[in-house]
């Protein structure tokens, strides 16, 4: 187990929108070198939680700490260096070249008026390589396929080189090879000791994470490792028993543990 201090701690987060309670007393810890998948049905409050963790939305109750500092009191640029956030797909569009898009990840380091130095350029190249985006780095975002686009936007997030990385549905609408590419990027981040949290709709992908947080109706229903029976029970419950979680044996000759899959229930 990691003995490091958590990279991010959120305690007692509550968000109310009008009469509706979107998040209610949510607490979550993100550890360096581990990735956490956040799962739950539509309207569970997953994306809202992620935007609170990113400092994009002030919670009505509770607080978020990043690297031991209060997120709410950090200047915007410092917060942006600590926490990188990938929005749900669909919003980014336009005629900017991929390399320029990825370069935006260095804005928190350069500031609006700065210009890139050797470290920034290196970070951009590394991010392009890690996501396999180098080949289309000169093309416009609007000209890319869905998978290429998502890799480019993920590279933008990697270029920040933040200790905490938050990804909102990074694999939705992607085919399996591209989904696997995203997971590889996440593994790369984790190896570099980043704390990663991703909202995922694909439960089988989520079950490959180090830790799962199961949400429903604005509350955390369970959290634990992918093999935890309590987590399995909570997932099956929040999806109204529409799915079941089964283990498949690890491939012969590897010392990996069992892998978990979510199947539609009969």
């Amino acid at each position: 187990m990691s003995t490091n201090a958590p990279a991010m701690v959120a305690t007692g987060i509550g968000v109310t929108l009008g009469a509706a309670t979107v998040l209610d007393d949510v607490s979550i810890e993100l550890q360096p070198g581990r990735w956490t998948a956040i799962v739950g049905p539509n309207g569970a409050g997953k994306s809202t939680l992620l935007s609170v963790l990113a400092g994009l939305r002030r919670p009505d109750r509770g607080q978020v700490q990043v690297g031991g500092m209060h997120l709410a009191t950090l200047p915007a640029r410092e917060r942006a260096r600590q926490v990188a956030w990938l929005a749900q797909q669909g919003e980014a569009d336009g005629d900017l070249a991929v390399r320029a898009i990825v370069g935006l990840g260095r804005l928190p380091h350069q500031g609006l008026f700065g210009s890139p130095d050797a470290r920034d350029l290196r970070a951009v190249e590394l991010a392009l390589e890690a996501t396999g985006s180098t080949a289309f780095a000169h093309r416009r975002l609007g000209e890319l396929s869905g998978g290429e686009r998502q890799r480019a936007l993920l590279a933008r997030v990697l270029a920040v080189q933040a200790p905490v990385v938050l990804l909102d549905e990074p694999t939705t609408h992607l085919d399996p090879p591209h989904q696997r590419a995203v997971l590889c990027c996440i593994s790369g981040l984790v190896r570099q000791q980043a704390a990663v949290a991703a909202v995922l709709h694909d439960l089988t992908l989520a079950l490959a994470a180090d830790q799962l947080v199961v949400m429903a109706r604005g509350r955390v229903q369970a959290s634990g490792t992918p093999g935890d029976p309590a987590v399995h029970a909570a997932i099956e419950a929040v999806f109204e028993q529409a799915i079941v979680i089964r283990s498949i044996e690890a491939d012969a000759g590897t010392d990996a543990g069992p892998r978990w899959v979510a199947l539609p229930s009969r």
């Binding site: 919003e91 980014a92 000209e143």
Partner: protein
């Protein structure tokens, strides 16, 4: 596949060459035809053709810059420099001054540029354009929410347009003056106007370039830009102010020139893949070339008579947009 595109530097050099060639043509084109023998008509060249050509280029550059800012700020390729109430504000300013002049019994000669300047129409149009944008900002509660900014721009346009109509009902004589002034013409430009336009461009362009990376970040969406630590509210207010200043200065000097601000950034984006810094500068250059070419055409097509350049740009710009529409369908 991505088509091969020239670099920003090549495009800038082409535009600079086009500017030089068009300026030369602008100095040579007169109502009696073309002549390079400037010494024979030196006063004409110095006092009329030169300021007119320089002013047309500068006004076009300001509109191109304002259009590129508007399209980046609102993340909409159809955004236009006039959409925040500056056109309606300028119209109201002009109508008010004309009506006041009419009420005071001072008959304003519309045919001559000097009379227009004396009547303070340029100042009124400028103040009106800035006032329109200020009212839009006030109603929208600042520049934080682009959608309410756009909607309030529409409301202000309708509102100030209605007030203009009301004033025109009371003093119908002002109608012709408003038409002549706002139709879009480079015919009234003098060296004073050129100075104002140059000063505004020299102020607005460097500041806009300085914050252009915020427009790059906005490509990712509002929330992503905020997540990168970009102070969106302040940057937006600054850019809206620059847009209002550039548009207001152009409207005050040359009236409502349609489509230059809308089309210039489009043309640049078709040619090169660049970030907003070069895009803003190249859009200004393109806007200048477009309006200078338009002015030249307006003077020459039915010489010795003259077309209002605003009508010409409206026709050409409209055709260009239709072409774009057909291509994107096909």
């Amino acid at each position: 596949m991505a088509p091969a595109r020239p670099t920003a530097t090549v495009l800038a050099m082409l535009l600079a060459a086009a500017t030089a060639a068009l300026l030369l043509a602008g100095l040579s084109a007169g109502s009696e035809g073309w002549s390079l023998a400037w010494s024979e008509a030196w006063t004409l060249v110095r006092d009329i053709r030169a300021p007119r050509s320089a002013g047309a280029w500068l006004a076009g550059a300001l509109l191109g810059l304002a259009g590129a800012i508007a399209q980046g700020l609102f993340r909409n390729p159809l955004a236009d420099p006039y959409l925040l109430g500056s056109a309606a504000g300028a119209g109201l300013g002009v109508v008010l001054v004309l009506a006041a002049g009419g009420a005071a019994g001072a008959s304003i000669g519309l045919a001559t540029a000097s009379a227009l300047l004396q009547a303070g129409l340029v100042g009124a149009a400028f103040a009106g354009a800035l006032g329109g944008v200020a009212l839009t900002l006030l109603l929208a509660g600042g520049a934080a929410r682009p959608m309410s900014l756009l909607l309030c721009g529409v409301v202000v346009g309708v509102l100030l347009g209605a007030v203009s109509e009301l004033v025109l009902l009371v003093s119908p004589d002002a109608l012709r003056g408003k038409q002549v002034f706002l139709l879009g013409t480079t015919g009234f430009l003098g060296w004073d106007g050129v100075g104002v336009l140059a000063a505004v461009l020299a102020l607005a362009l460097p500041i806009a370039l300085r914050v252009s990376r915020a427009l790059d970040a906005l490509v990712l969406g509002e929330a992503s830009a905020a997540s990168l630590g970009v102070p969106l509210a302040q940057v937006r207010l600054l850019l809206v102010s620059l847009m209002a200043l550039a548009t207001g200065a152009a409207v005050a000097q040359v009236g409502l020139i349609a489509f230059v601000g809308l089309v210039a950034p489009h043309l640049v984006r078709r040619c090169v893949t660049v970030a907003h810094g070069p895009l803003l500068a190249l859009s200004a250059l393109t806007g200048g070339v477009l309006l200078l070419a338009g002015d030249l055409a307006a003077r020459s097509v039915i010489a010795p008579q003259e077309l209002p350049v605003g009508v010409l740009t409206a026709v050409l710009g409209g055709l260009y947009l239709l072409l774009l529409l057909r291509r994107s369908r096909g």
